[in-house]
């Protein structure tokens, strides 16, 4: 990895102030770098901070959230402190987003062709006719059948898969350097999901862009990413090349994630900590995953682990990483 990363997140803390309480920390010191051309998967459960991370990367932390510490550098620009106009010039042009629920998020009263064309028109300063021409080209590129007719269609007239393709067309229309996909295919049928993801991967790769695949479905990352980052409670707990990760996951949480998708109830059972009725409260300052960890020991309650490198190019945030093959 010689080239400077296209997205460089270092020690990022994002918090949401709460009324008369400690602020809620959505991200607690996240480090993540995406080199040019690489596909990284970011996996975690709901509320783990995946979407906040994506929003922070775009310089759009949802209010009233604030970046407490650390920084997000996109292509050398600090997205946390970027001016409004400069941010608008970057988003959609160099950093593009593929959203999850396109039929709700596309503008309901603008034809989809026009919505693609708008991106080109406002970002690349071409004529409207040229923008329309490129939009139609994009519609064909994302393999929407009968693209000329669909150009004038409204979002509600498209199927979910079709709308997802439109969103991909919007994301790639200006040849961005990084594409973030936030749970983009979670609403689709499995077969359509595969088609759309294959398409996304092919097109992103063709344009030489990097991609951050945010998902709850760990299986997706296996097929589409070269590295995988597991996020839990606002912290990256494991970062590993995909092959290594699926071969020997090191963090107990990674294993519960894998177990959740496996067909083996025993595996699931073995890695799920049974609910404790008279559990002592987990003290602050310990490992965030301790409450749910089957391998918890004294040290986990006393001392928060740091993300540290292991063999095979992976890092893990655990005092006692799992060292055997579990599957």
């Amino acid at each position: 990895m010689v080239a400077a990363p296209i997205l460089d997140i270092s020690d990022l803390w994002v918090s949401f102030p709460a009324y008369r309480a400690e602020p809620v920390r959505a991200l607690k010191g996240v480090d993540l770098a995406i080199p040019p051309g690489e596909f990284i998967g970011l996996v975690g459960e709901s509320g783990s901070g995946k979407t906040t991370l994506a929003r922070a990367a775009m310089g759009l932390v949802p209010p009233p959230g604030i970046i407490e510490r650390g920084q997000v550098l996109f292509n050398g620009r600090n997205m946390g402190q970027i001016e409004d106009e400069a941010r608008r010039a970057v988003l959609g042009r160099e950093l593009a987003m593929v959203i999850a629920n396109p039929r709700a998020e596309l503008n309901p009263v603008v034809p989809v062709g026009r919505q693609i064309s708008n991106i080109v028109f406002y970002h690349l300063s071409v004529s409207r006719a040229e923008a329309d021409r490129r939009a139609l080209e994009m519609l064909r590129a994302v393999r929407i059948p009968d693209a000329e007719r669909r150009f004038a269609a409204y979002p509600h007239e498209l199927s979910g898969g079709m709308a997802q393709r439109v969103v991909i067309a919007i994301a790639l229309a200006c040849t961005p350097k990084l594409v973030i996909s936030d749970d983009a295919t979670s609403g689709l049928d499995v077969t359509v999901q595969t088609q759309v993801l294959d398409l996304l991967k092919t097109m992103v790769a063709e344009k030489g862009a990097s991609a951050l695949f945010i998902t709850r479905d760990i299986a997706i990352t296996a097929h589409y990413c070269s590295r995988i980052a597991v996020i839990f409670a606002g912290e990256i707990v494991e970062l590993a090349p995909v092959a290594t990760f699926f071969e020997r996951p090191a963090h107990p949480y990674s294993i519960t994630l894998l177990a959740a998708f496996s067909h083996s109830p025993e595996l699931r059972l073995r890695w799920t900590r049974p609910p404790e009725v008279d559990a002592a409260p987990i003290p602050a300052g310990g490992c965030a995953f301790a409450a749910r960890c089957v391998r918890r020991r004294e040290r986990c309650l006393a001392e928060a682990p740091l993300l540290r490198p292991l063999a095979g190019g992976r890092s893990v945030r655990c005092h006692f990483p799992v060292d055997e093959s579990v599957t």
Binding site: L91, A104, V109
Partner: protein, 337 residues
Amino acid sequence: MMPLVRYIARRIVFVVPQLFGIVLVSFFLVKLIPGDPAVMMLGPTASAQSLAELRDKMGFTKPLLEQLTHYLADVARGDLGTSWQTTRPVTEDLFQRFPATLELVTFGLLLAIAIGFPLGVAAARLKRGVTRKVADYYGLLAGALPDFWLALVLIYVFYTVLGWIPAPLGRIDMAILPPPTISGSLVIDSLLAGDWEALRSSLGHLALPVLTLGLINAGPILKMTQSMTERTLSSDFVRYAEMCGLPRRVVLRQAVRAALPSVVTIISVLYGFLIGGAVLVEIVFSWGGAGQYAVQGVLNADLNPVLGFVVFSAVLSLVTYLIVDLIYFALDPRLRA
């Protein structure tokens, strides 16, 4: 275009039963108003016999249902009866007075939109700052002030003190010959006739009542524009537009565009309401509009003008709502399916 035709046709089919229902309800309601037209017409000294004869002649002694069928049959022929106060057919009276009210209400609402809409958008866009404060207080004030009171204040300031406008009596100076009636609006008719003197006079008379209605009704339009634009500004598609880095003005335009249907709704509701609801302003300016006519009818147990007014307003409201539906149709492609 086929869905549009079908849409309109379906709406028009429903107009007849709607009108029938409105006439039915208002007929019985009007009959419930206490007061005896015969006493009003003949005065307190009339003999019991002449009163009875007049009631009989006017059909008031017949069963209510028979009166209703008679009335409905007349309405179907376009005959709304005669007013005993003006001794003229109600239809004629209303055709003379409704344009006055429509002129007042239409220009008043146009002014209200011109004030309320931009202020609402500005207030929604800027969460803090002076504009927001102005908009908040304006909405509160416009909602709290009675229109007739504001009318009196405006008359005091602009007529009594400053003397900028003509006396608030009617729609045009007595000494000036009104232009030939084409649209019924004196301003438009003066323009069409190229009669500048009449135009100046009618504009002068129109200014204060329009200002009154405009200032008061800008309040609800402002509030609706503001709250709907705020909502669309935090909606999913606006957030997505932000993520796509579209220019600020484009995002704002999309948000305002999405807020339009609700704004159109409140405008149409205000329009229907003001046809009868501007009556206090009409009285203050001796406007001679339809609302004034109906109130006179109620006060003097003159039933035909009251019913006639209801029928006219109902038709007008139905037409307004039809137009509004067509606007929705143009604004929202999801309705065109």
